[in-house]
């Protein structure tokens, strides 16, 4: 109990901790919400590709403007991530290259271009570029209030977009063919959803970094999927899991010395996944084990399918 009071006290008084916790919470909220669609559509790894692909955008934004404002760099990241998404969609739709290869290519090539630009900047612009490589691994401790406002603003746009197109995105995720037959602009909606996803990813880059951002998209949604078959509940749960992991990770890393925030957040969200996979009613592994033991037979395991027949 004392520990809890200590934590609350620290949250109320410690500026850094409060900023980091708030930033991580926003990140968890937005990526949890939009990650749901990525996971449901079988595009979980697109987050990994987009977050890596953001690097050249950050480098170029810095190279062109000379500014190190978070908003400028994030806009650069947004542009590059968006470009990578369009490239992935175009390559998979117009050639025999499969989605996973397109992801791997976009990820490594964009990142390589970013790395080339970054090293180019380093030898031309001297040491001024400090702050750019925090995007690689994320340095939550460098967050300031302005960053949190930027994150909140971009996050609000992403969530608003999701709320406005709720019905359309739902249809797109579960039955794109039906959506097309209804006359919905499927390709445009697809691009819009991807754009919102890029927005969600860009928000997290500074906190958890390029490498770990994908976990923040996939894990909360994959955990939430175990507890419900309803999209609305799943999005809400996923957001809650994201926030919980973000805040817990920020708190734990502030309490223990030498514990980087990003990886701690990711381990927290991984723990949530592990608990969900084990304990979730009906789908969970423990539940399944008990049911199998009760019936004393081992029929083919039936996982409750969603409205599209997918597990």
């Amino acid at each position: 109990m004392d520990a809890l009071i200590d934590i609350l006290y620290a949250l109320a008084t410690d500026y850094t901790l409060r900023t980091v916790a708030l930033g991580s919470a926003i990140l968890g909220l937005v990526s949890g919400a939009l990650g749901t669609y990525a996971v449901l559509r079988g595009q979980s790894l697109i987050g990994d590709a987009i977050s890596h692909a953001a690097l050249p955008g950050i480098a170029l934004a810095f190279l062109l403007t000379g500014s190190r404002l978070t908003l400028v760099l994030l806009l650069g990241a947004l542009a590059a991530g968006w470009l990578a998404t369009l490239a992935i969609m175009a390559v998979t739709q117009t050639s025999r290259i499969t989605f996973d290869s397109a992801l791997g290519l976009a990820l490594s090539v964009f990142f390589g271009v970013g790395l080339m630009l970054l090293t180019y900047i380093q030898q031309t612009a001297g040491a001024q570029q400090a702050g750019l490589d925090t995007f690689l691994f994320g340095q939550a401790a460098t967050l300031v209030t302005d960053d949190v406002w930027t994150m909140a603003g971009l996050g609000a746009v992403a969530l608003l977009g999701m709320a406005l197109c709720w019905k359309e995105f739902k249809l797109l995720s579960f039955d794109p063919a039906f959506a097309r037959s209804l006359g919905l602009p499927v390709r445009m909606l697809d691009t819009l959803l991807m754009t919102l996803l890029v927005l969600a990813i860009v928000i997290g880059l500074q906190t958890v970094g390029v490498v770990l951002m994908s976990a923040m998209l996939v894990a909360p949604a994959a955990a939430a999927r175990q507890w419900t078959d309803r999209l609305g509940v799943m999005v809400a749960l996923s957001m809650a899991f994201g926030v919980a992991a973000g805040v817990c990770g920020a708190l734990i890393s502030s309490l223990v010395a030498n514990l980087p925030t990003g990886p701690t957040i990711v381990l927290c969200v991984s723990a949530i996944v592990a608990v969900s996979l084990t304990l979730a009613p009906r789908r969970g592994l423990l539940w399944r084990y008990l049911r199998d033991r009760r019936t004393r037979v081992r029929p083919p395991v039936a996982v409750p399918a969603d409205e599209n027949g997918r597990p």
Binding site: V39, G42, Q43, S44, L45, G47, D48, H52, T94, S95, R96, I97, T98, D100, S101, A102, L103, G104, L105, L107, S108, V109, F110, F111, G112, V113, L115, M116, L117, L118, T119, Y120, Q123, L136, F137, V211, L212, S214, A215, L217, V218, A219, A221, A222, R225, Q226, N258, L259, P260, G262, P263, T264, V266, L267, S270, L277, R283, L285, V303, P311
Partner: protein, 370 residues
């Protein structure tokens, strides 16, 4: 060109060749992202092995890393097998967790040793010639060259030895199982190779470039050919070409070699994507356009055949009638007729179109076969 430059290019070329070989199978099996997962999650393996042996140059580090690579594969399979999450989600959960573990281990316990995160992810090819292999005082060249060469030969040997089995398991896993080829064992063997390759390559070129070299050249080669053997050869050739041209790009810009090689891989893929002979975007576009004209000419001759010798033929077989009957635009109709005339399918006369014997034959064949 100095000896050092030559050595860097040699190492880069050998890394590219060694990565491209297992890469072909990853790309064909739709598991390209597994290379990303493995190349990241080897980090905790390296860290743990380092704690055990306390020597950064020990081969045990490679063993530890390769084992974590396999652990990643096993964990992903286990998660997927529960059918609670899809495979891509399983990958997206497992490797960030393992990577986080590695980062935390380094931050907490290895802060003062030279185990640099940047180096793991980004690599520094320019340092490759500094680690020399010396036996009995003789300088035999960069260590990286021998390590990667050995891995490359291992990959090549495995593929040559199990070429037929791998081919079958890749294109028809069910048949491979029926015939007793143990595709699961092959799958794990392949993944072990990818792990070993990623580990050996990462300190030369970094985890991200490993992904570029594993996925990029095979994906490009796949656009150039339909034959597995040729895909393997082309992948190696393209990979080596990207590695060497990337080195010179880095030389000109004075930028990261790994980044420049990945950029060249991107350029190579873009070129193949646009200009590949049959699967390229331009070729596809030309083929579609040609098909449209061919179809239009067939429609024209069939139309003429339908009305040939009938009373309404004089009205139906005029060029300007095609517009209303086939709903072609005037210019499209003109072009189709001109093409058909060029190919001697139709001829003009008395203000209407007549079928030539060749046109009649084409129409009759088209009616029967389409």
């Amino acid at each position: 060109m100095t000896i050092t430059q030559l050595e860097i290019q040699l190492v880069a070329a050998v890394v590219a060749a060694a990565c491209a070989l297992p890469g072909v199978y990853l790309v064909l099996r739709g598991m390209a992202m597994m290379s990303d997962a493995i190349s990241h999650s080897i980090l905790p393996g390296i860290v743990v092995a380092f704690f055990l042996v306390e020597n950064l140059n020990s081969p045990l580090l490679i063993v530890g890393a390769a084992l974590t690579g396999l652990l990643t594969v096993v964990l992903v399979e286990l998660l997927t097998d529960t059918r609670l999450v899809k495979e891509d989600a399983a990958i997206g959960i497992v490797f960030p967790a393992l990577f986080s573990l590695g980062v935390i281990l380094i931050a907490r316990y290895a802060g003062d040793v030279h185990l640099d995160l940047d180096a793991v992810l980004l690599g520094e090819l320019a340092f490759a010639p500094f680690n020399r292999l010396e036996i009995a005082g003789h300088d035999l060249g960069p260590q990286g060259l021998y390590a990667m060469g050995a891995v490359g030969l291992l990959n090549l040997g495995f593929i040559l030895l199990f070429y037929k089995e791998l081919k079958l398991a890749t294109f028809d896993a069910a048949l491979a199982t029926t015939l007793g080829f143990a595709p699961v064992a092959l799958h794990y063997a392949l993944m072990a190779l990818v792990s070993v390759t990623a580990v050996a390559a990462f300190d030369a070129v970094g985890a991200i470039l490993v992904v570029a070299l594993i996925v990029g050249p095979p994906a490009s080669a796949r656009l150039l050919t339909d034959r597995l053997g040729l895909t393997l050869v082309l992948s190696v050739v393209l990979g080596v070409a990207c590695a060497i041209s990337g080195y010179w790009l880095a030389h000109v810009l004075d930028a990261s070699i790994a980044g420049s090689i990945a950029t060249m891989v991107g350029g190579c893929f873009t070129a193949c994507y646009l200009f590949a002979p049959t699967h390229g975007l331009v070729a596809q576009y030309l083929m579609r356009r040609e098909r449209r004209w061919t179809f239009a000419r067939k429609v024209l001759v069939i139309h003429l055949l339908q009305h040939e010798g009938l009373p309404e033929a004089t009205r139906e077989c005029r060029v300007d009638h095609l517009q209303e009957h086939l709903s072609w635009t005037a210019s499209f109709a003109r072009q189709v007729v001109a093409q058909a005339e060029d190919q001697a399918l139709v001829r003009r006369g008395e203000g209407r179109l007549w079928l030539t014997p060749a046109g009649r034959a084409l129409a009759q064949e088209a009616v029967v076969h389409t």
